[in-house]
Symmetry: C2
DNA sequence: TTGTATAGTTTGACTGCCTAATTAAATGCC
DNA sequence: GGCATTTAATTAGGCAGTCAAACTATACAA
């Protein structure tokens, strides 16, 4: 049929111009290794089932991995009723195959964890962070110090294979540059390469909100989900997003800024200079600001933490004004979470962060308010869970990043 | 090293439990085919470069595809300066290899397009839709009728290989069920399978907001992006999201509901029954509602469209009240778009939909307001573009879906 | 002409995976 | 205890897909 018969002649073609998958799928070798690590202990049959590979292939790949010292055979825990047939042989990661360090630098404390190839925690350390703005050189020294402290805690003779570092602010994961960080003097710092040169080891860096999501994806509630959001409540409100089992770093590779979504046009003043940001209602400085007014604390120049504790105590004691402060913050938080649900429809929202002691903010009220503010007829409400782990979450998230890196290098 | 040396023993393993990629990557055969279609005309060398394949492999695959009648050799348009060496031979898809139909059913009009394998438009049709609620049987008949009309327009002898249907409401792409649709009497209808049985052809169905995103991904501005959002403004406010070159259908496979994000706590009443939804400020019914008050049209029971036109005309004539209506709607829309930017950080936001004639709503003001409401220091503002195509966009999006389906079946 | 540059094909080998047959290691039944 | 049964894992043989390298094809330039 000649072209002239066509009503439209599309010489530019149609369809997406970019390849769909990121480069190519992981090799079966790597998939097998990761399935073993994800399971803890798993027999070959089960690997074949999970990965839709033939038993022959699994045998071949696992033999290679065992020879390479990456996995090992291991007794499988006995079930109650032992079935007939040849008993399966368990496989597990050779934990000592590699060691990695994940660290988090912030303006409160620096922390680090040492993980082995199986993800076991070998050691950790937390050091206070200087409250002042810091030079790049200082940050590098702090990183080195906290790594050393964690390695010391883990015991002698550990040589980490890879290192991952997380810090707040705008971090470009791809280029490894810190575009902006609240406590750093300089901007647009190629921190990854600087640290790499200093430590003579491969380094990755990422935004701390992303690390939180990675921590949940690797070690926490998100492991069985291919799709969830992690909201962190601290100084600001951060968000990490996992989509199709992968961290979504946004167009530019930075964390998502839930704190600066608008929940009220011309609303409260945010420290970013705009009005109506969620952060301006929920973050600690917003609460402190109201506490000043409500509790006649205006003349005191106590630090924010103390002031918040005071406010919380008063609310608990029945102070109505103090209660309204938390109640309002809670309602706005609910609106923000409802927006996340409406825009993403994640399978789960995890609330994470240090401030979970302010129960008022994360009480049942907030959760039910979130559901009330979400329009999803006929669908079950999106579960919202509070996940409070210790100060080491971020470092563990960085550890996951480092582990992934090490896996890429060792397994391929 | 014995296990007892470890500080934590993680028998449950670590790392994501689900496979990262969706099943497996596309075959090279399919990648080659899709690259040819995406390019329009492309020589083998370029295919090898783009897909990182050896020339030998490209030769083999293209030979197969030619033999299968899926692509063909074609003259390559001459550049101005002809370089030395053997001139490349162009490849293009054999447009006649397959034909598909994409249709959209709504409460205003039904439309359909006929596309060939190259994505060329062979024919189309639009029919008015009955304004009343419809039974499943009626919807099926309408679908059949609009398909026939489009096929008639395309000419004789066309047998579509696959069909894709889009409609508003909650559509589960995976199961092919319509959980809820504004104009359908029944709920939870297995529409895909019903249509399949009726037409004796493979069918896919999807939400109309998703189709819009697919239309942009296949034929529009989104082709060169791996990451963008499409916002559609009609009765409601829908959103489709492309992430990593793939449509993000949310946890349940429905479209995202931008219209019901909260931009004002305890704000205007939305038809969903909640308060402060973006839709309650921006959708046509919200404008009409205010027009009633502002323009003393309360006694008239004219239809919404006429009322909106009146309002728009008055605003153009300088009526201050009418102007404030559009101005307010524009500001809230800006806040909603700013939230999308803040939460997703897409590479581009496309504004799409029928109502683009209400210039006031999408004027420069809205775009600059969007940027003003977005906190992204040091980063260039997210581009927001208005994309007005005709009434056939949705059908074309459905066509893309059908084309993808046909490709899967024919190319593998 | 002949040289050179670029596009595309042919050949042979290799990798990775699969099917099918075989071996291994347990239980249950007689 | 011995043997059938059942499930796990390995081995053997083969096929599909890809690549490197050598080769052919087709243009322009000198």
């Amino acid at each position: 049929m000649p072209d002239t018969d066509l009503k439209t002649e599309d010489l530019d073609g149609c369809g997406p111009l970019l390849p769909e998958q990121d480069s190519q799928a992981k090799s079966n070798r790597r998939q097998v290794f990761e399935a073993v690590r994800a399971s803890g202990i798993i027999p070959r049959v089960e690997l074949a089932r999970q990965l839709a590979l033939s038993p022959a292939t699994v045998t071949q790949i696992t033999t290679e991995l065992i020879e390479a010292g990456l996995i090992q055979e291991s007794e499988l825990p006995r079930e109650g009723d032992s079935p007939r047939g040849r008993p399966p042989v368990g496989l597990r990661v050779q934990a000592t195959a590699a060691t990695v360090v994940g660290i988090k630098i912030s303006d409160r404390s620096n922390s680090a964890v040492v993980l082995d190839m199986a993800g076991n925690l070998l050691g950790s350390a937390t050091l206070p962070a200087p409250p002042t703005a810091r030079s790049t050189e200082e940050v590098l020294s702090e990183a080195e110090a906290i790594i050393q402290a964690a390695l010391d805690d883990a015991g002698p003779g550990i040589e980490p294979q890879t290192i991952a570092l997380g810090l707040p602010g705008m971090v470009d994961f791809i280029t490894g540059r810190v575009l902006w960080c609240p406590f750093m003097e300089e901007t647009d710092v190629p921190l990854r390469d600087l640290l790499q040169n200093r430590l003579h080891r491969p380094v990755r860096i990422d935004n701390d909100a992303n690390l939180l999501a990675l921590a949940e994806l690797w070690f926490g509630e998100g492991r069985a989900l291919d799709n969830f959001a992690v909201v962190s409540i601290e100084h600001g409100l951060g968000m990490g997003l996992v989509i199709r089992n992968q961290l979504h770093r946004g167009g530019m590779g930075h964390g998502m800024e839930l704190g600066h979504t608008k929940v009220q046009l011309d609303g409260a003043l945010c420290r970013c200079g705009q009005r109506g940001c969620l952060e301006a209602y929920v973050a600690d400085y917003a609460l402190v600001r109201e506490a000043h007014t409500a509790l006649n604390l205006g003349h005191q120049s106590t630090c924010a933490d103390v002031m918040l504790e005071t406010l919380y105590a008063q609310a608990k004691d029945g102070n109505a004004l103090a209660r309204t402060i938390f109640a309002r913050a809670g309602r706005y938080l609910a609106a923000g979470l409802a927006n996340v649900v409406t825009l993403y429809d994640p399978a789960l929202i995890l609330l994470s962060g240090d401030r979970l002691r302010y129960d008022y903010l994360y009480a049942e009220d907030v959760l039910s308010e979130t559901h009330a503010l979400t329009y999803r007829p006929g669908r079950p409400p999106t579960p919202v869970e509070i996940h409070a782990w210790g100060d080491l979450v971020w470092a563990r998230g960085a550890g996951a990043l480092a582990l992934d890196f090490a896996t890429e290098m060792r397994v391929g």
